[in-house]
Amino acid sequence: MTHRRSIRTLGAGLWSCVIYGATQVRAAPFNQDAIAAAGPQAAHIAHLWNVMLAVCLAVFIGVMVALAIAIIRAPQGNSATPPDSDALAREERPASRAVVLAVLASTAGLALVFLASVHAERALAGMDRTGALHITLTGHQYWWEAQYDDPAPAQVFSTANELHVPVGRPVIFTLLSDDVIHSFWVPNVHGKKDLIPGHSATFDLRVDQPGTYRGQCAEFCGYQHAHMALLVVAEAPDEFDRWAQRQRQPAAEPAAPDTKRGRDVFLASTCAMCHAVSGTTASARKAPDLTHLASRSTLAAGTLPNKPENLARWIEDPQRYKPGVNMPPHALPPQDAQALVAWLGTLQ
């Protein structure tokens, strides 16, 4: 009965892996989990996942049980056992009935699963989009550019790597790409959609639970594909409006002498060639808009927490944190660097 014992050890070994694995997932401080739905879309998909898991687990256990019984029940033989060659002639009616039954059962299972998928698809497409917020999201190599569209051009503003959305209000994304294919994916909120150069895709979602949800680029896009994250901060509509209003303001005039010096260093040095800060002469669009850098909680698309010493080290040598990123190193004299960081800190 060696094979009976071996199947039992197999089952035990596997079960311990599943348990160990499941406990680990819950401990994630990130909010980046496809099962913990924070919006209707992710909820529909999580529901579909449960249906699928149930049906597939049942089929899997059924097949494994049938296999185990077949192995345990059948008499043992060895290479000398005469082969049952007249089985070819024999009408194995009960066996063919069993196989036909099994095939019909699995076809029925597939039909059920297909219907569940179509139902979920229609539910996803059916979300009402009245009063939606429009955002144009453009993927760049290794950061996200978000432009909050508005019928009135003056109300339009753009930010990077951190999106605030009002809770309960639909958001319609227009997805573009400026270089290679990226994929916009915030698992707690919805599935992913690719940003493809030469194509404009639309993608709509809604967040119902307030909170900060982390997403990551899901289509391999180069050296720093691993550090191209974004945060979606869902907050109450009035809080969102205050945030949006602040985002529309240009950068405040620096008061203290060192912040003034920091701004001059910014404008006279290489920063202004790529970054834009509205309210100053810097208006290049090739890198993230820094007008409200200090209001964001992370630096470099979710790679570093937004703290002054991180900002200083990042400016000095970005390649240390994201090797291959398009930002060059800067050996500024210490007092210039400190002044620059101080000024950037004022850009709330």
Partner: protein
């Protein structure tokens, strides 16, 4: 050639005797020239199998590096550029240099033996195919060592692999490797189809062809219609990068999605012609170790053919996250789910075979049981991925990495490891150790599940694919560590497996003609078989020739050995039609392969290489074909004109 004219006589009626085996034309010259120029499908097949497993080891080593890098968060073990080259080369080696060629290598060795033929069709072309495959694989490994390994993933999406963002010559080396493996794959496919349709033993009508051979023919036919798509796509990628065509340039009327359509139109059938040879091996092992023919032969054959057709209608399920129209996607959901049915039918037939059989639980059957467990789980996650909404969550995450390894390692590697143990006695003449076999199975099975099962959970936990590192706060650390430990277990089990192979080859007990009591023709000849395969060419009387009373219903005699005569039979009924005089051993295929390699590698650097390289290859191929006066004179002497 109507039935009446087939010269069937009594045993004593035969006039002249066969040439003795010694001065047979099949053995070919010895030494290096004989080794380089052999036309013996068994020598080429053995060499093909060993080379494919060496590439498997190289790919496995790269996988181990990846797992070491991902074992802990924010690890500095490998930088992003090196990691991108390693995961791209790992994928490329495993898919193009191991999974597809190993199925073909097993077919090159076994199909002629199973259909009762004296040789494989177009033996020199198969030799050329092997050399081109070897040189392509070596080129890729040298490129990786020289820091020019592909770095845009094994499917090399444009524009990241395109002219602007695919920096340097890396994507060109990837695209040119495709050209090498396609040329090799297509040639072997054509020769397997020709061998099976035209060179079967008399009496082996289509309903007596072994399931292994059916699966290999379906695989080869799929190869014929799938590989052109990636040949066209990789050629267009090279022309885009080298001479500035705009096929994938969105600004000038091209489209990056066109690359995905062309690539996946090939790559989905590809994963099926990696997986169907696995089913072929399972059919052979289940029959022999359940001591009875596989239940529902017609059902299994029709399922294989249905899988072959359906595989061409699913490719868009790799592109659900792009903005392909929604209605199209649900069609592909239905098709992706429907293809599970033929595989389910085969699964149920095998389980019924075991149910009504007498189980001889040896190592090959252990691997088949491992196959059932892992493939069923992988197939079910595949059905989950077929649903568009769910795919949007798990596409390009570690859930997909888990699924693809469950179906590919489960579908192809498990049966393959079992198949090597099963046919090792026939190929080498000695048997492998049973106890070591089981130990390496259990280590592999548990190591596999410990490595890849946690990846399902990681995928749902939001870990995207192809990241060279991840943050500590992501919480993915422990599961990644578990996967890495599992990967080391897999490495240990494969080392044990290799040890078992080497020990078996050197000191294993001699195997004899039929150690497992198999029913197909390869078990009716010596181990390892002589150069001419069968001393007496069998006439087949049933589906399991060695098991049925009238299984071998006579012989073919007077099939000349000196002139390498091969019996050509009709397609459906396998009635003898005529003899063909096969070519002699020649090293021209080897030199033509070298010329082709020079042409392919040089055309990475300059388009003029095609202009000057093609005449070189044409010249070498002409020397290969050019008939020798002696051979033509000899053929005119023995020639019997057709009516």
């Amino acid at each position: 050639m109507s039935d009446a004219t087939i010269p069937v006589g009594a045993l004593d009626g035969a006039r002249r005797s066969d040439d003795a085996a010694e001065d047979s034309g099949w053995a070919g010259p010895g030494g290096l020239v004989g080794w380089l120029g052999t036309i013996d499908h068994k020598r080429i097949g053995r060499r093909f199998i060993v080379t494919a497993f060496l590439f498997f080891a190289a790919g496995g080593f790269l996988a181990a590096l990846m797992r070491l890098q991902l074992a802990v968060p924010d690890s500095g073990f490998i930088g992003p550029d090196r990691y991108n080259q390693i995961f791209s080369t790992h994928g490329t080696i495993m898919m193009f240099l191991f999974a597809v060629p190993i199925g073909q290598a097993m077919a090159v060795y076994l199909v002629p033996l199973m259909v009762g033929a004296r040789a494989i069709a177009f033996p020199r072309m198969v030799a050329f195919a092997y050399w081109v495959y070897l040189f392509g694989g070596v080129m890729l490994l040298v490129a990786l060592v020289l820091n020019i390994g592909p770095d845009a993933g094994w499917f090399s999406y444009v524009p990241l692999a395109g002219p602007q963002f695919g920096i340097g010559k890396r994507s060109d080396f990837w695209a040119q490797l495709i050209t090498f493996t396609e040329v090799s794959g297509l040639m072997v496919a054509v020769s397997i189809i020709a061998t099976t349709l035209k060179m079967r033993a008399p009496g082996m009508s289509l309903d007596r062809v072994p399931l292994f051979v059916w699966a290999m023919v379906v695989t080869s036919t799929m190869i014929l219609f799938a590989m052109p798509a990636v040949m066209l796509a990789s050629t267009m990628l090279i022309t885009d990068r080298l001479v500035g065509t705009h096929v994938f340039n969105a600004a000038e009327g091209g489209d990056p999605l066109l690359w995905q359509h062309l690539f996946w139109f090939f790559a989905h059938p590809e994963v099926y012609f990696i997986f169907i040879p696995g089913l072929a091996i399972v059919s052979s092992i289940v029959a022999t170790f359940a001591r009875r023919p596989v239940f529902g032969y017609p059902a299994v054959v029709l399922s294989l053919i249905a899988t072959g057709f359906l595989a061409f209608g699913l490719w868009v399920h790799h592109m659900f996250a792009t903005n392909v129209p929604e209605l199209g996607k649900s069609f592909f959901t239905a098709a992706s789910m429907a293809i599970a049915i033929p595989t389910a039918i085969q699964l149920f037939c095998w389980i019924t075979t075991l149910w009504h059989g007498r189980i001889n639980l040896k190592t090959p059957l252990y691997y088949v049981l491992g196959f059932f467990f892992v493939l069923t789980l992988g197939g079910l996650t595949g059905i989950m991925l077929a649903a568009v909404p769910l795919d949007l969550q798990v596409h390009d995450t570690y859930f997909v990495v888990a699924h693809l390894h469950y179906v590919l390692i489960g579908g192809a590697v498990f049966p393959l490891l079992g198949g090597v143990v099963y046919w090792f006695p026939k190929i080498i003449g000695r048997t492998m150790d049973e106890r070591l076999g089981r130990l390496s199975f259990w280590l592999f099975f548990i190591g596999f599940n410990v490595t890849f099962f946690p990846m399902h959970i990681l995928g749902l936990a939001g870990m995207p694919r192809r990241v060279y590192t991840y943050a500590g706060e992501s919480g993915w650390g422990p599961l990644n560590m578990m996967s890495s430990i599992g990967a080391l277990m897999i490495a240990a089990s494969l080392l044990l497996y290799v040890f078992n192979v080497v020990r078996g080859a050197l000191q294993g007990p001699s195997a004899g003609v039929d150690p497992w009591g198999g029913g197909t023709l390869e078990w009716s000849t010596a181990s390892p078989p002589p150069a001419h395969n069968f001393d007496a060419m069998p006439v087949v009387g049933g589906r399991e020739p060695l098991w049925e009373s009238n299984g071998i219903a006579g012989s073919v005699v007077n099939l000349g050995m000196k002139d390498r005569e091969v019996l050509i039979t009709s397609v459906v009924e396998a009635k003898p039609h005529h003899r063909e005089l096969f070519p002699c051993a020649t090293t021209w295929p080897f030199f033509t392969a070298i010329g082709t390699t020079i042409l392919f590698i040089a055309s990475i650097f300059t388009p003029w290489a095609v202009v000057w390289g093609s005449p070189l290859v044409a010249l070498l191929a002409t020397c290969w074909w050019w008939p020798s006066l002696a051979e033509a004179r000899r053929h005119r002497e023995v020639e019997v004109p057709s009516q």
